[in-house]
């Protein structure tokens, strides 16, 4: 050959190799990049929260200051404040460790007791027997240079005048009611609890009348009340006692409190020391003398029983000594607890202990910022310490994602997916189990339809059909794989689902009629085929017999539906279903999915089966035929066993397709994240869930990351399934490499 040509060939070879390798490597990099990206987006869910000490300094006024009763910090962690026992609130610049402002609350009355409802909200009891509800607010302002200044404001929300209670109160809890009304609960000497309610009513003339009510709550004089908690609406009062009793009162009627439940919290009768209502006021956090933090709410005692009682739901951190105080977060379902100078923060739903720490000197007061990003602690040595704190995804844990969790207002632990609701204080439910179940359910029903259709269709086309049929059937099936899934989803949801709804019973009749009709026909055919001319039809023209058979089965089912409905199902099949089979019949049900998703999968199974059958060497088929085997025997005994890895590969590949399919399931499943295998209702799949929720998920929020976690699981599923399919195909190729 010419040297120039040789040289050119070599050059082309060189570059072709480079380009091809580059393409291959690029694909690998893309896949690995996707995986890395998914993992990176998911990982923060599982990182443990961390805290960093920002600053620590002694209280500016030295050691001769009155006792601090309350602490607080703004969400920028710049301004802190403390309230002392003589009723002064002092604001501090935390960065410079100096006091910037101070003011007297309630004209300098001494504070005897402080109860907090969460960051910056305090119920204070004063030395003269009056009480007040105080809120400290911070507002950020930006000047022309974008410099931030934070203005603080102290607001007295409600005040209970001295002498309102029949005795001098030891501790008062105040909650505001509408129109300047309020509910106040006081613990009085002698273990008495009194409720003082002020209801303001506006009459039609626009003048308002104020009614005050004062009622006693019954208590056991021998069982000291150790803690009180009053919900935001002021109508639920929780008491905890020395003997370990947990009591819940209904204060809806200010004149007549009603006991809802009273129970001994723990079997060992341990004393309860602290109470706090978790954000949302549904769950009660309880601290006891043994240092255990638990949460409780009203739930059925046993599954199915209508009787609701206070029930232990979550066990959070445990300390070595009694819980001194519990403070809820006002951002999520987290609770701070303090015991013997150690502070822990637990998230209720996930039961994760987010943080646990103690200062060199025991902490006696602490505060959480409203955004949950900082903690201010005051220790015995009057040193203030500020920690920046980062727990971005406290509501997630393996147990939440994959285990049963007893969510608020649910009667039992369950797998629930519900990522958002109308209110902020809602408990997000991030169980991936209903979604995984939905994906598997959709796949299962799709495969029920697609596997027989794909495999038998391919066997018929490959082995029995005429060559002419083969030449157009194969490309036709393959083209269906190219139909955009949105079209199939659209047809399934808006065309197929209503038809199926209308002909539901007919569909089931069809399932019975088609096989019986076919069987009857075959019995007839066995006799008729002695006729030579008819027998010719068997040679690859079976299709012409199958079509009328199918059509008559359809017509017969449609014709029979009203009759059968009348005779056996009292005239309404769906009513009968509702009464005897399932309570959740849904128009977007698994039958629709079976057809729609199955339709997507059939081309894969068909093509793989066809390829597998074709890959069995012709010499084997010849050997079988030469030994006197019929077409069916050859197919069944030689081709199918040999092609079985390919068939499995096709089925598994189809599964991979079905599990990842999004558009069809998004449009036709109804997207209900329920765990119910029933044929008559829908599902929500991992893929559809991502499509539904990602537009609403705040970037880098918990929902966002949980969706990435579900994407990672989906990726894992499809990767695994495709790898298995590839292994089967490899074994098929290896088996026949020698032929």
């Amino acid at each position: 050959m010419d040297q120039a040509v040789l040289k050119r060939n070599r050059k082309v070879d060189y570059w072709a190799k480079k380009v091809i390798s580059l393409g291959g490597v690029a694909i690998l990099v893309c896949v690995i990049g996707m995986l890395v990206m998914l993992v990176m987006q998911t990982a923060p869910l599982f990182l443990s929260p961390h805290k960093k000490e920002l600053t620590a300094f002694a209280l500016p006024n030295g050691n001769n200051t009155p006792e601090a009763v309350a602490l607080g910090v703004d969400e920028y962690l710049e301004t802190g404040y403390w309230i002392d026992s003589v009723g002064t609130i002092r604001f501090l610049d935390l960065q410079r460790a100096v006091e910037t402002d101070h003011q007297k609350l309630f004209s300098g009355l001494g504070i005897t007791k402080m109860r907090t409802y969460g960051p910056n909200s305090f119920s204070l009891t004063f030395a003269d027997g009056s009480a007040g509800l105080v809120e400290v607010t911070f507002a950020a302002h930006f000047d022309e240079n974008s410099q931030r200044t934070i203005e603080h404001q102290t607001k007295v929300i409600r005040q209970v005048p001295a002498g309102s209670f029949s005795q001098f109160p030891l501790e008062v809890l105040i909650r505001p009611l509408e129109n300047n009304g309020m509910a106040a609960v006081a613990l009085l000497p002698g273990n008495r609890v009194e409720v003082w309610t002020e209801v303001v009513e506006e009459n039609f003339l626009g003048t308002s009348e104020t009614h005050s009510f004062k009622t006693q709550i019954q208590t056991d004089p021998k069982d000291l009340v150790t803690a009180l908690a009053l919900n935001k609406k002021g109508d639920r009062l929780y008491l905890a006692t020395q003997n370990g009793k947990l009591v819940l009162w209904n204060l809806n009627n200010p004149e007549e409190p009603a006991l809802i439940d009273m129970r001994t919290a723990f079997a060992d009768g341990r004393a309860l020391t602290s109470l706090a209502l978790v954000y949302g006021d549904e769950s009660l956090a309880v601290g006891d003398e043994k240092g255990q933090v638990t949460t409780w709410f009203m739930a059925p005692e046993a599954s199915g029983s209508p009787q609701k009682r206070l029930t232990l739901i979550h066990r959070l951190s445990s300390h070595k000594t009694e819980i001194q105080s519990l403070v809820p977060s006002l951002r999520n379902k987290a609770v701070l607890s303090l015991a013997a100078g150690t502070v822990t923060l637990d998230h209720m739903t996930s039961e994760r202990e987010l943080i646990r720490f103690s200062a060199p000197s025991p902490i006696k007061q602490f505060a959480f910022s409203t955004r949950g990003n900082g903690l201010l602690g005051l220790d015995q040595a009057n040193r203030l310490t500020l920690w920046a704190f980062d727990a971005p995804h406290p509501e997630g844990s393996w147990m939440v994602y994959f285990g049963k969790v007893h969510y608020e207002s649910y009667s039992a632990p369950d797998y629930v997916w519900q990522s958002s609701a109308g209110t902020d204080d809602f408990e997000p439910k991030f169980s991936l189990v209903p979604l995984i179940f939905g994906s598997l359910k959709g796949t299962l029903y799709a495969m029920l339809f697609a596997v027989p259709m794909g495999i038998f269709g391919a066997i018929y086309t490959n082995q029995f059909a005429s060559r002419r049929f083969q030449t157009w059937a194969k490309p036709a099936v393959e083209i269906t794989a190219a139909v955009p899934s949105v079209i199939i989803g659209f047809l399934a949801a808006l065309w197929l689902a209503p038809i199926l709804d209308r002909w539901l019973l007919g569909f089931f009749l069809f399932l019975v009629i088609l096989p019986s009709l076919t069987l009857l026909f075959l019995v007839y055919w066995a006799q008729a085929r002695t006729n030579k001319k008819l027998r010719l039809i068997e040679q690859s023209k079976e299709l012409y017999l199958a079509l009328p058979l199918l059509l008559s089965a359809v017509l017969l089912s449609a014709w029979l539906q009203p009759q059968v409905e009348l005779w056996f199902f009292g005239g309404d099949f769906k009513q009968w279903l509702y009464a005897y089979v399932t309570k959740d019949y849904d128009q977007r049900n698994s039958i629709v999915i079976s057809f729609a998703l199955g339709f997507m999968v059939i081309p894969f199974i068909f093509t793989m089966t066809d390829d597998a059958l074709s890959s069995v060497p012709d010499s084997l088929r010849a050997a079988s035929v030469a030994l006197g085997a019929s077409r069916w025997q050859t197919t069944w005994k030689v081709l199918l066993p040999s092609a079985s890895p390919g068939l499995f590969a096709g089925v598994i590949l189809g599964m991979g397709r079905a599990i990842g399919e999004t558009m069809v399931v998004l449009m036709a499943t109804g997207n209900t994240p329920i765990i119910d295998i029933s044929l008559f209702n829908g599902m929500r799949t991992l893929s559809a869930n991502i499509a539904v929720e990602i537009p609403e998920a705040p970037v880098d929020g918990s929902l966002y990351r949980v969706l990435f976690l579900s994407a990672l699981i989906l990726f894992g599923f499809t990767f695994l399934i495709n790898s298995i399919a590839e292994l089967f195909r490899y074994s098929l190729r290896k088996k026949y490499a020698e032929f």
């Binding site: 060497p617 030469a626 006197g628 030689v638």
Partner: protein
């Protein structure tokens, strides 16, 4: 066309066989009587139609789809195998076939041998065991494989596989065995074994063998037919063909002037 005035009892009579692949004619008016319990070799250059002719004898050409045939092939009971009433499955059980390349099923040795019986509905273990032993013994393979009947047939050597295929064909109990260049993919030692086997099977079975190898034809066959361009040029006793062919073309081919 040469007249064949040979006296023997034929097991099959081929009369005026024309074969077309689509529109191209591949066999031209072939007449041949196949002698019973003798070995008949078919020789000729590539593409002469000898393999096509062989496949007509058990209707394997049917599988090719576009093949059409005229003429008659009569069995010794007078039935035409291409008659519409004739069941090709029945025919193929009478006329077994060994292919150029050995094609054992990816099953055990045992299952390979009994395949023909199983599809005929024989499932009695005792019968099957007997057939396996007798067939493998006939195919001179029993001693080599009797200890590993339950192992995959694909683990055998090339020559063993081909003998397994012979055993598999024999197990069905055919009268005629068609062999389509059975040794062309084998080494000389395995070839010798197969040739010995053919000589042994002779007398019990009628064997028709297509071969490229003229020494092989002369070694194993009693009769030889020479095909050229789709026609049967000469058919006679092997000795006659190889020592004193009547036809010039036969002589040219045998002496190696073409082919």
């Amino acid at each position: 066309m040469t007249q064949h005035k040979i006296q023997f009892s034929p097991v099959m009579r081929v009369r005026g066989l024309d074969l077309y692949y689509g529109t191209a004619q591949a066999l031209f008016s072939v007449d041949m009587d196949i002698p019973k319990h003798q070995v008949t070799a078919l020789i000729g250059p590539s593409g002469c139609g000898k393999s096509t002719f062989l496949r007509c004898l058990n209707r394997m050409n049917d599988l090719l789809g576009s093949v059409s045939i005229q003429g008659k092939i009569e069995m010794d009971d007078g039935t035409d195998i291409y008659d519409k009433h004739q069941d090709p499955i029945q025919l193929r059980r009478q006329v077994g076939m060994i292919f150029q390349k050995s094609n054992p099923f990816p099953k055990t040795i045992y299952e390979n041998v009994v395949y023909g019986l199983r599809i005929a509905g024989v499932n009695d273990k005792k019968t099957l065991d007997q057939v396996v032993e007798s067939s493998l013994t006939r195919a001179a393979l029993w001693d080599e494989v009797k200890d590993r009947l339950d192992q995959s047939a694909l683990g055998l050597s090339g020559g063993q596989m081909q003998r397994l295929c012979i055993a598999r064909a024999v197990a069905v109990g055919p009268e005629i065995l068609l062999m389509d260049e059975p040794c062309s993919a084998l080494d000389p030692k395995s070839t010798a074994k197969i040739e010995d086997l053919i000589l042994e099977l002779r007398g019990k079975y009628t064997i028709v063998i297509v071969t490229h190898n003229m020494q092989q034809a002369s070694r194993v066959s009693d009769y030889t037919g020479f095909f050229y361009e789709g026609k049967l040029i000469e058919f006679d006793r092997t000795q006659q063909i190889f020592t004193n062919p009547k036809n010039q073309q036969t002589e040219d081919y045998i002496t190696g002037r073409f082919g």
